[in-house]
Symmetry: C2
Subunit: 337 residues, 2 copies
DNA sequence: ATGAAAGCGCTAACAG
DNA sequence: CTGTTAGCGCTTTCAT
C-alpha cells in the first residue's frame, strides 16, 4: 500500500511509452553522456508527463544511499530540541539529505525507532540518547555512522557534540554568589542523565570555588522534562520557613515551570528570589522581574554536528572520536522601568 | 553508503550460518506456522547473534508498505506545529507507523521534500501546505494518500482537518467589543494563506455583528511567521497619536512578538491595551497584565487527523472528502494580585 | 548510442 | 516441514 491512485509509474513504463529500453531511461535520467540529446529530452519529457518518481527502495538495493539522516529526540515540544531539529533540517537540506525526526522518550521507544531507521538503512543518525539505551540499540547503532548530541553515553559512538554543562551551571551560580546570595536553590535533573550530573556538579563547584559552605546550597533533583516537578519544587521553596534568596534551574522545561509557579503567587516587592534560568526563550523578555538566562548556542552546535556527520558520510571516512564543546553565555533580562 | 561497520547482515548470511535456505529464515522471522519450533528458535537466535536487521527497501520491493507517514510542516519551532508533530508521532507509533517530519517553508522546499517522501514511497502524508504549492507537488501528492492539516488548498486532497479560523477571531474580537472596546487593532497574517483570510474575516465579522462601524478596526497584515513584523506593528500602534484600546493577534508567532514589544516599554498603568492573543502558551501565565488566549485543541486535532489517515491506510479505503473542524476556547490570564 | 541481462535482499508460489 | 525459484525496479556490466 505504498502509494495508490493510478499507482506509481516505473522506469519500465516510461521506457515502453517511448519504445526504448529501461536502461536507456535510467541513463537518460542520470544524465549519462552516452545518451543522445534527443533521446534524453524525450525521456525526460515522458517521465515528467507520466509523473515518474524514482523508486528509492529499488535504488538502494543497487547499493545507493538512502540519503536519509535520522534524528532521535526525547521531546520535540522542548524549544531546545525544536531548534536542533530546525537547524539540522536546514543543514541536511543544503547537502541533499533528508532529515527524519524520531521522537522517543524511553529506552524501549528509542530501540523501536532506531530499529526502524536501521531497517530503512538510514545513512547516518544524530542521537540525543536516553540515559540507559538498550543493548540492542547499541548493537544496531554500532553498524550505523552516528553522533551523540548533548547527552553522552559510553556505550555509543565516541563522537559527541554538546555544551559544557558543568561550566553553564558553575557560571550561573557564580553570578548569584557574586551578587551576594548565600542561600541558593538548585532545581535540576537527577544524575541519571550525563547532563544532569554535570550540571549539579557545576552548581556545587561554584560554592567551593567561592570558599562557601555547601550548607547554603539547596538541591531539588528530579525528572528534568517534567514541568510538574519544577512547579512543585518551586512552590515548596517559596513556602519554606527560610526560603532561598535565589533559585537556579538546570533544564529548559524546569525554568518555565518555575517562572509559572512564581507568577502564580502575588508579587511581594523586594522579596522575590533572584532567578537564573537554564535556556533562553523569547518569553523571558516579559518576565515580571529580573532574570538571568543561561543561553547556549544550540543552533550553531546542531549545525556543527550535522556538518561533521555529513562530511564523514560523503567521504566515507570512519566516525572517529570527537568532542565538540560549546560554552554558554549569561543574558540578563530586567523589566522596563 | 547505507551502513558501515562490518556491513549489514542479510537473511542469506543468517541462512548460511545455519545451513538452511533463505526462505526458511524469512518464514521463521515472520512466525510462519509451517516452521518447526526448533528451527524457528535457532533462526531467531542466529539472527539476534549476528545482528540481523530486516531490509525495508527489499521488503518494499516485494510490495510491502514502508509504514512511514510523512509530516510536512512549515516550521517546527512554532509551538503549534511542535505539538502537532508530537501528537502525530505518538499516534503513528501506537499503530506501528513511523512519522517522518519534514520542515519546508517555501513552495520549492515543499516540492523537494514531497518528492523525497514520494520516492521513499511513504505510505501516507499529513501536510500543512504552503499557500501556493507547485503543480509538481500537487501531481505527486495525487498519487499518495494524504490529508491537509490547518491550512487548506484547493489543489490538494479533499480531506482536511483544521480549526474554525473565522470563529476563533470572531469570538476573540467579540470578547473585546463586549468589554467596551471600540478601537481594536488586528495584527495578523495576510490573505495569502487560507487561514489568514478566514481569521481576518472573523475579525471584521465581529464588528458588523455588533452593529459597529469598521472605522474602529485597525488592520496590520503581514507574514504570520515573522516576529519582526509583529513587533513592528505593535510598536507602531503603541506610538500612534490615537492608539487602539485593544490589540488582537492572528498567529501564534505574532502573539509572542507583540507581548515582547509591549514588555519592552515602561508599564503605563491603566493605559495598557487589552490583549487577545492567538494561541495558548505556558509563558502567557507570566504576562504582566491581563491577557485572553485563543486556545485551540490542536493535540486532539492532530490525533484525529492521524487516526483518520491511518484507518484509511489500513483498510485500503480511498481518501474521500472529509472536513473536521475544531473550535477554540477563550482562556483568560490575569496577573496575581 | 542503445539493448539485453544479471543481480541487489526479500517474499510467495510451487515443489517436494 | 523445508528447499527452489521467480521477480519486485533499478543500475551496471557486457554486447552489439
Amino acid at each position: 500500500m505504498a502509494a495508490r491512485g493510478p499507482g506509481m509509474v516505473t522506469a519500465r513504463q516510461v521506457a515502453e511509452s517511448l519504445g526504448v529500453a529501461v536502461s536507456t531511461v535510467g541513463r537518460a535520467l542520470a544524465d549519462d553522456p552516452r545518451i543522445s540529446p534527443r533521446t534524453r529530452l524525450a525521456v525526460r519529457e515522458a517521465a515528467e508527463r507520466l509523473g515518474y518518481v524514482e523508486n528509492l527502495p529499488a535504488q538502494m538495493m543497487r547499493g545507493g544511499s538512502s540519503r536519509m539522516i535520522g534524528l532521535m529526540l526525547p521531546d520535540i515540544r522542548n524549544s531546545f530540541y525544536a531548534t536542533i531539529a530546525d537547524a539540522l533540517s536546514t543543514c541536511c537540506d543544503a547537502a541533499g539529505y533528508q532529515l527524519v525526526v524520531s521522537i522517543a522518550d524511553s529506552a524501549e521507544a528509542e530501540a523501536r525507532h532506531v530499529r526502524q531507521l536501521a531497517s530503512a538503512r538510514a545513512a547516518g543518525i544524530v542521537i540525543v540518547p536516553t540515559p540507559a539505551p538498550q543493548a540492542e540499540t547499541c548493537a544496531m547503532l554500532a553498524r550505523i555512522p552516528h553522533v551523540q548530541l548533548l547527552r553522552r553515553v559510553r556505550e555509543l559512538s565516541p563522537a559527541w557534540f554538546g555544551i559544557d554543562d558543568m561550566e553553564c551551571l558553575r557560571a550561573g551560580t557564580a553570578h548569584l554568589i557574586a551578587r551576594g546570595h548565600r542561600r541558593i536553590a538548585y532545581i535540576g535533573g537527577s544524575g541519571d542523565y550525563s547532563t544532569g550530573a554535570d550540571r549539579l556538579a557545576g552548581f556545587r563547584r561554584a560554592f567551593t570555588e567561592a570558599g562557601l559552605d555547601l550548607a547554603g546550597a539547596i538541591e531539588h533533583l528530579g525528572p528534568p522534562a517534567d514541568p510538574r516537578f519544577g512547579a512543585e519544587a518551586a512552590a515548596a521553596l517559596l513556602a519554606a520557613a527560610d526560603p532561598p534568596s535565589a533559585i537556579i534551574t538546570g533544564a529548559v522545561q524546569l525554568t518555565g515551570a518555575v517562572l509559572q509557579a512564581i507568577a502564580g503567587r502575588p508579587l511581594s516587592e523586594g522579596r522575590e528570589p533572584a532567578l537564573v534560568g537554564f535556556g533562553d526563550e523569547p518569553s523571558f523578555s516579559w518576565w515580571r522581574g529580573e532574570l538571568t538566562a543561561i543561553a547556549m548556542p544550540i543552533q550553531e552546535l546542531a549545525q556543527a554536528c550535522g556538518g561533521w556527520l555529513i562530511a564523514r558520510l560523503e567521504t566515507g571516512a570512519a566516525i572517529e572520536a570527537h568532542a565538540s564543546i560549546a560554552s554558554a553565555q549569561l543574558v540578563e533580562y530586567r523589566r522596563a522601568s
